[in-house]
């Protein structure tokens, strides 16, 4: 801003000459154009790997191993997808993952809001001390508890079952309890009092009144539990050995160890693993964004 600002009589910086206005409009237009150029360039950088994933899975080998790379598969080769299922039962892996994920979500939805409600609203001795203890465990890296947990599950004969993957979810998760408790605390207590006057017990009050009120937070929790469970790799790697029991992430890794150099086939398998998560994202996008802003979780 080099143009003279001083003689804008009385109204300060509000009144501008036509020249200044034009300059501002021009600057704004240039700014917006530049922003879009960068946005689109980065969009290509972030989006292209997905395009590459899907198109590689549809290419014939002669289009795969060439320089410069071929952008459009021609002819389109669908056969990698049926071939996947000839090698390994990928539909079974997806069903396994759905089952494990559903059991995990069920556990989280049962245990976390229940405990959160108790910590937020019900009064019992040493409540806050216990809550602080639960919060403190968030600092504990899973690497420390992983070995004793493995020994515990192996003593219970749970190795090579799904139980180590979903049973702990029924016993709460510190971060989700913390999050939901914060949410319960914002709900006015009049609603509860009214229910009490009507003679509702604690279970009824919780299920009928309180639980519906924390739905936004609970939905976010469910979405993150889904992603976490669907993408979980270390857990299945440690606990599941039998191929037929594997969730998709571990099966994909097994498949990679067998067919690493067959890129078309590998990309088809990775596409199949990724599609359910992407679909969920498009259906539940609102809850994702809301959940991240609410929780500071990164997915």
């Amino acid at each position: 801003m080099t143009a003279s600002m001083a003689p804008a009589s009385g109204a300060g910086a509000i009144r501008l000459t036509i020249g200044q206005r034009l300059l501002r409009a021009w600057n704004r237009w240039i700014g917006a154009a530049l922003r879009y150029i960068v946005l689109i360039t980065l969009g290509v950088v972030f989006g292209f790997p997905f395009y590459w994933l899907v198109t590689t899975s549809l290419k014939v080998d002669t289009q795969l191993f060439v320089v410069p790379p071929v952008l459009f598969p021609d002819p389109i080769k669908w056969s990698n997808y049926p071939r996947l299922f000839e090698y390994l039962p990928f539909h079974l892996f997806i069903l396994n993952t759905v089952a494990i994920t559903a059991l995990t979500i069920g556990g989280i939805v049962f245990s976390c809001p229940l405990a959160a409600y108790s910590f937020a609203r019900l009064r019992w001795p040493a409540r806050n001390t216990v809550f602080l203890g639960i919060l403190a465990t968030m600092m504990l890296p899973e690497q420390v508890t992983m070995i004793p947990q493995y020994l515990l599950f192996s003593r219970m004969d749970w190795i090579d079952t799904w139980r180590p993957l979903w049973v702990p979810a029924w016993f709460g998760s510190a971060f989700y309890i913390f999050l939901l408790r914060q949410f319960f605390m914002t709900i006015p207590s009049e609603l509860e009092d009214a229910a009490k006057i009507d003679g509702a017990g604690y279970v009824t009050t919780y299920v009928r009144i309180m639980l519906p009120l924390v739905m936004p937070a609970l939905t976010a929790v469910v979405v993150f539990t889904f992603i976490g469970s669907w993408n979980n790799f270390l857990g299945p790697l440690i606990y599941v050995n039998t191929t037929m029991k594997m969730p998709i992430s571990l099966a994909l890794r097994l498949f990679q160890s067998l067919h690493d150099a067959e890129y078309g086939l590998m990309m088809a398998a990775s596409t199949i693993t990724t599609i359910p998560v992407v679909l969920l994202f498009f259906f539940a996008q609102r809850y994702f964004i809301q959940g991240i802003v609410l929780t500071g979780l990164k997915g």
Partner: protein, 303 residues
């Protein structure tokens, strides 16, 4: 606390029972899956437990051994390398994307989705995809570099470039941090910028003097999470390189995993886990101590 007016009153017996029952699964969970294992882990780290042979108490032998184990040193250095290189680049990427998206137009929702999608892509699938992109001969990246006349490195096949490759892949998945930055940016009051503009402050000056300080709590929060996340790096290396070449991507947790679940040296691995725990704890607490110097909280502290 919502219940301050009640605190003096006696506990209601039915409420205490309901409260304890409601919290019971969580309390049991903490005892069985967290605190119990924590204590057991400390005990195990003082033994030579390996599932197969007879267990002896060896006291601090495991800790002495790990201090001299060249693989522990190598994996720790690798981990610190990736953390030191990765955290600044990841935060910078996420912040840049958020600044770019911080405008009120319809198109932003589209770009936000596009930039975020990699963050929820299953790690194993993403790693397999990046193995192909980073493939040295026919991979996308080296082909692109070739177009501008650069002979790309071997990436995952090179001892020098394997760690930067993993960092590069992690930058693709910064959409989660980006969204948190974006929420932070939206929380900065507009009046601050308007006032600065009237004072004639330049765009850069506004960024340095308003945006960064107002965003410092978000930067701090993401930095703490990002450092812990990088220290725990495992799956990417397991799928991309299996720790190679020449152990250049053998990270601390990877080495711990090998000791525990490949060689079944449970006692030794527990000692590794405890050292990790203590180091992460110290590093995190140190960041909180240092935070006072640069994190700006609106409540209580004016400049």
């Amino acid at each position: 606390m919502a219940a301050t007016e009640h605190t003096r009153r006696q506990f209601n017996r039915r409420e205490v029972i309901a409260g304890l029952l409601f919290a019971l699964p969580a309390i049991l969970g903490i005892l069985i899956f967290q605190l119990g294992p924590l204590v057991v882990s400390l005990g195990l780290s003082l033994t030579d437990y390996d599932i197969l042979t007879k267990t002896n108490i060896v006291w601090f032998q495991n800790y002495k051994r790990l201090a001299q184990d060249p693989l522990v040193l190598k994996s720790a250095v690798n981990t610190l390398y990736v953390t030191a290189l990765g955290v600044p680049l990841q935060l910078l990427t996420a912040l840049s994307l958020a600044l770019l998206l911080n405008a009120e137009t319809k198109a932003m929702a589209f770009f936000r989705t596009l930039y975020y999608l990699p963050a929820i892509t299953p790690t194993v699938a993403a790693a397999i995809l990046w193995r192909w992109i980073l493939q040295s001969q026919w991979g996308l990246l080296n082909s692109a570099l070739g177009l501008v006349g650069i002979q790309g490195p071997l990436w995952l096949g090179s001892e020098v470039w394997s760690k930067p490759s993993i960092v590069l892949m992690s930058l693709w998945g910064q959409g989660g941090s980006m969204l948190i930055f974006l929420a932070g940016l939206k929380g900065i009051p507009r009046q601050l910028y308007e006032a600065a503009e009237i004072d004639g402050a330049s765009r850069w000056y506004r960024f340095i003097r308003i945006t960064l300080p107002m965003l410092s709590p978000t930067i701090f929060f993401l930095m703490v999470l990002s450092i812990i996340g990088n220290l725990k790096v495992f799956t990417e290396a397991y799928v991309l390189t299996q720790g190679g070449p020449l152990n250049s991507t053998l990270f601390y947790v990877y080495n711990l995993f090998n000791n525990a679940f490949v060689y079944f040296r449970m006692g030794y691995a527990s000692a590794l886990a405890w050292v990790f725990f203590i180091l992460v704890l110290i590093l995190t607490l140190a960041q909180f101590r240092l935070a006072d110097r640069w994190v700006y909280y609106e409540v209580g502290g004016a400049e």
